[in-house]
């Protein structure tokens, strides 16, 4: 019997199935690896490990936790020598909060249960051996006595409360007075310039001055509540230290804590990370302003890019006559997506900030410029220009997605609407746009994902290292589009490359990266939920 070619044992397509699935596996491994790396390194910021006391052959002693271990660069391959990096803290005493130690020189490593970990307002963390706690009245509580840690922590909590009250007075209340005084001074200068009566303004300014003095006095009163309690301790080499309790943020006993106490500390740090403001050149404290800035900027960018993109796509797909010009425009739009983002940053700075912002300033804020030493309002980087620049950058994504979605609307629906006597615009508005909403949202999701992670153009048009005020607050008009703001992506760059203490900043880089990923995922999940709801509404549409 003749052998039919179809009888061959292995179907010809099989190896290619393996090959293509290999591609997927490589991709998945990379994603999982990236997330795992970020997760592990990021969580090091929050976890409190045990802290050894390390004695070296030459007699020096260090107290600090092991940050990393590596083969010493330059050591022979046949006899690799390891070195360890410890975070020892106490920057003002040790000169650096990290030390590298040759592993061979370590003679003894022990875990002193009394070692105290401290987070401080200044100079980074510290690991010390406590001696005594002296409260404001001078009463001494030895470290070995019961209630020592509780007394210290109570004092730390008290200091935190006072700091918060002071921040409220200084930042919020005095800030409001300052903002009003600022605008009144401009009004006063203008009135003087035009020889108009200034009495009302002067009166109001005097009132504000009084209010300012009053607030200052109350701030001083609160500040007087800062207790003079202090912690007496010794560093690794036995030098006596006196640390004011008011300068401490947190105190813990790394070698005595139970697992659940460590988890509690982790959550306390996580809360600070998410809801507080940064300290110490951004290497400590929280990221609230950056989270908020990224969120507001991304949402605002989406609000800008969606109408622009959808309107442009409607024109291209529904109204424009097909021909060489339309094809050229389409190619240009698609290629816009491939332009490096920094180019958009330069454009944003050159056009939006200088030309557009400058003109708007001259048109609407002429008084501000004239009577406020030519300080630009919109003619400088800010939230509005950042959002606009990124909106421009992500526009092609939305246009292409919308065009696809419009052309995917079944012909029957379009015809039914026109046959019912609807105009073209009514058909677009009532039938085509609702039906293509899920597709449009897909484009917006892609745009948001790209926009939220973008850093380079933002550095040119309004993102800063540290913004004292949020772009949204209680002062009219509540949303301050002209303000500079902080951004997680830029924060990562700033921590990684601009930080004075790169060793201390490294775990923060990973933690911030993790946060940025989580934020982008959350934004996308929100948009995807909306899209799925819309899809469910159109499910079963058969044409």
């Amino acid at each position: 019997m003749a052998h039919h070619p179809a009888d061959s044992a292995t179907p010809k397509g099989e190896p290619w199935v393996w090959f293509t699935s290999l591609g997927l596996i490589v991709g998945l491994v990379m994603v999982v690896g990236l997330l795992g790396l970020v997760l592990v390194n990021g969580f090091a910021v929050f976890w409190a490990p045990t802290v050894p006391t390390v004695k070296l052959g030459d007699g020096t002693t260090h107290i600090g936790h092991l940050a990393q271990r590596r083969i010493r660069p330059g050591s022979p391959a046949s006899d690799p020598r390891y070195e360890r990096q410890y975070q020892v803290g106490l920057k003002e005493v040790n000169g650096n909060s990290y030390v590298w130690i040759d592993e061979k020189k370590v003679t003894q490593e022990s875990f002193d249960p009394s070692v105290l970990g401290l987070e401080r307002m200044e100079n980074g963390p510290a690991f010390v051996v406590p001696v005594a706690f002296v409260d404001a009245k001078g009463i001494r509580l030895e470290a070995s006595q019961a209630g020592f840690l509780a007394a210290l922590q109570a004092e730390v909590a008290h200091a935190a409360e006072i700091r918060e009250q002071l921040a409220d007075i200084n930042r919020r209340q005095i800030g409001e007075v300052n903002a009003e005084m600022e605008s009144l001074r401009i009004a006063q200068r203008r009135a003087e310039d035009r020889r108009e009566p200034t009495q009302a303004i002067v009166d109001r300014l005097a009132k504000l001055d009084a209010r300012f003095a009053e607030l200052k006095a109350s701030a001083d009163k609160v500040a007087a509540g800062i207790s003079s309690a202090k912690l007496e301790a010794r560093d690794a080499s036995g030098r006596a230290l006196s640390l004011p309790a008011a300068s401490l943020v947190r105190a813990w006993e790394p070698n005595r804590m139970t697992f659940w106490e460590r988890v509690g500390l982790l959550f306390s740090r996580l809360r600070e990370f998410l809801f507080d403001e940064p300290r110490e050149a951004n290497t400590e404290g929280g990221l609230m302003p950056a989270i908020f800035g990224t969120l507001v900027m991304t949402v605002f960018m989406s609000l800008l890019v969606t109408p622009f993109g959808v309107i442009a796509a409607i024109y291209l797909r529904e109204y424009a006559k097909d021909g060489p010009i339309l094809r050229a425009v389409r190619i240009c739009v698609n290629n816009l997506a491939g332009v490096p983002s920094i180019v958009f940053g330069v454009f944003g700075l050159g056009f939006f900030v200088y030309v557009l912002g400058g003109s708007l300033d001259r048109l609407f804020f002429a008084d501000q410029l004239k009577y406020n030493n030519n300080t630009p309002v919109l003619g400088t980087g800010g939230l509005l220009w950042c959002s606009l620049t990124l909106a421009l950058m992500t526009l092609p994504v939305v246009i292409v997605a919308t065009e696809e979605a419009l052309s995917a609307v079944p012909r029957g629906m379009r015809e039914a609407s026109l046959a019912a006597g609807a105009s073209k615009w009514q058909t677009i508005r009532d039938i085509l746009l609702p039906a293509s909403a899920p597709g449009i949202l897909t484009g917006v999701i892609l745009a948001m994902a790209r926009g939220a992670g973008e850093v380079a153009p933002l550095m040119l048009v309004g993102v800063v290292k540290l913004a004292p005020t949020l772009p949204v607050d209680g002062l009219a008009p509540f949303l301050h589009l002209d303000r500079k703001f902080m951004h997680l992506g830029f924060h990562i760059f700033d921590l990684g490359f601009q930080s004075p203490d790169s060793d201390a900043a490294r775990p923060m880089v990973f933690a911030t990266t993790l946060l940025l990923i989580v934020l982008v995922v959350c934004l996308n999940l929100g948009a995807i939920t909306i899209r799925n709801r819309l899809r469910a509404r159109f499910k079963g549409a058969s044409f």
Binding site: G412, M413, L418, A419, A420, A422, A435, K539, S542, F543
Partner: protein, 273 residues
């Protein structure tokens, strides 16, 4: 074509023409030529559709019957590169009159498509769509139009308790009757039906055909169909098209019982097409 198509079998029932009289040339097509680009789709068609009658267009695929139907409400305007010669008038007025807005033409000429195409909206919103785009906002008028149209489309009893439900949850036959209700909601004068039953089962088809009988009391209906039994059952007059030409146009009885052209006879007896 199966043998049952033979006009001599008892399965084809020819309806006698009804008595009432209206304008005989309500839709008047004169020397109408139509081109898709260079391709000539219709060639010198001359045909009158009487008022409040049902006219069926039959013929093999690609004969131009749908093209002619879609010219009556200028749906072909959506296609690029079309051209026409000759004229079509409705009640004496040319549909190509530059003073006549194509939108107002389509408001007077409703259309039901081959595939039912309800919008992804509620049943209610589907029916009142034509009124909404005309700018009607009065809830009472909309409610009344919705009920009247659904009653006329014989769908009211089935959907009156779920008017706000999505139209996409209806069965195929219900969807097509919904599309008819939508097409008649703004009370057009003419109803165009482009193979309205081709995607339906026999029971749903029967309902739609019954409906056509009732609707012709008020509307002039032009129906394109592939089913000759359907043409015989529902229409007063039948036009047979072949290769873009009108071969024969006469009363349905005449076409099916005693066609004068050999091509018509061959087609309806199932010898080609």
């Amino acid at each position: 074509m199966p043998a049952t198509m033979n006009p001599t079998t008892s399965r084809i029932q020819v309806r006698p023409a009804t008595e009432k009289e209206g304008r005989q040339d309500y839709i008047s097509i004169r020397d109408f030529n139509f081109y898709y680009g260079a391709k000539k789709a219709l060639e010198s068609i001359t045909l009158d559709v009487p008022e409040r009658r049902v006219v069926a267009f039959i013929g093999p695929s690609g004969c131009g019957k749908s093209t002619l139907l879609r010219n009556l409400n200028r749906m072909n305007d959506l296609v690029d590169g079309i051209r026409h010669e000759g004229d079509i008038t409705i009640n004496g007025r040319s549909i190509y009159d530059p003073g006549l807005e194509v939108i107002s033409l389509r408001r007077r000429v409703g259309m039901v498509f081959q595939k039912s195409n309800p919008f992804p909206k509620s049943i209610y919103e589907n029916v009142v769509y034509a009124l909404r785009v005309m700018g009607v906002r009065d809830r009472a008028i909309l409610d009344e139009a919705c009920e009247t149209s659904l009653r006329k489309a014989a769908l009211w009893d089935e959907v009156k308790d779920r008017l706000q439900d999505s139209a996409l949850g209806l069965s195929g036959g219900q969807m097509q009757r919904l599309c008819i209700a939508r097409a008649i909601a703004n009370r057009p004068e003419i109803l165009l039906m482009d193979e309205p039953c081709s995607a339906l089962d026999p029971i749903a088809t029967g309902k739609i055909e019954e409906l056509i009988h009732e609707l012709k009391e008020q509307f002039t209906i032009v129906i394109v169909t592939h089913s000759m039994q359907q043409a015989a059952r529902v229409s007063d007059r039948t036009a047979f098209f072949y290769l873009g030409k009108l071969i024969e146009y006469d009363t349905t009885e005449k076409i099916f019982m005693n066609p004068s052209q050999a091509q018509t006879e061959a087609y309806i007896s199932g010898r080609f097409g």
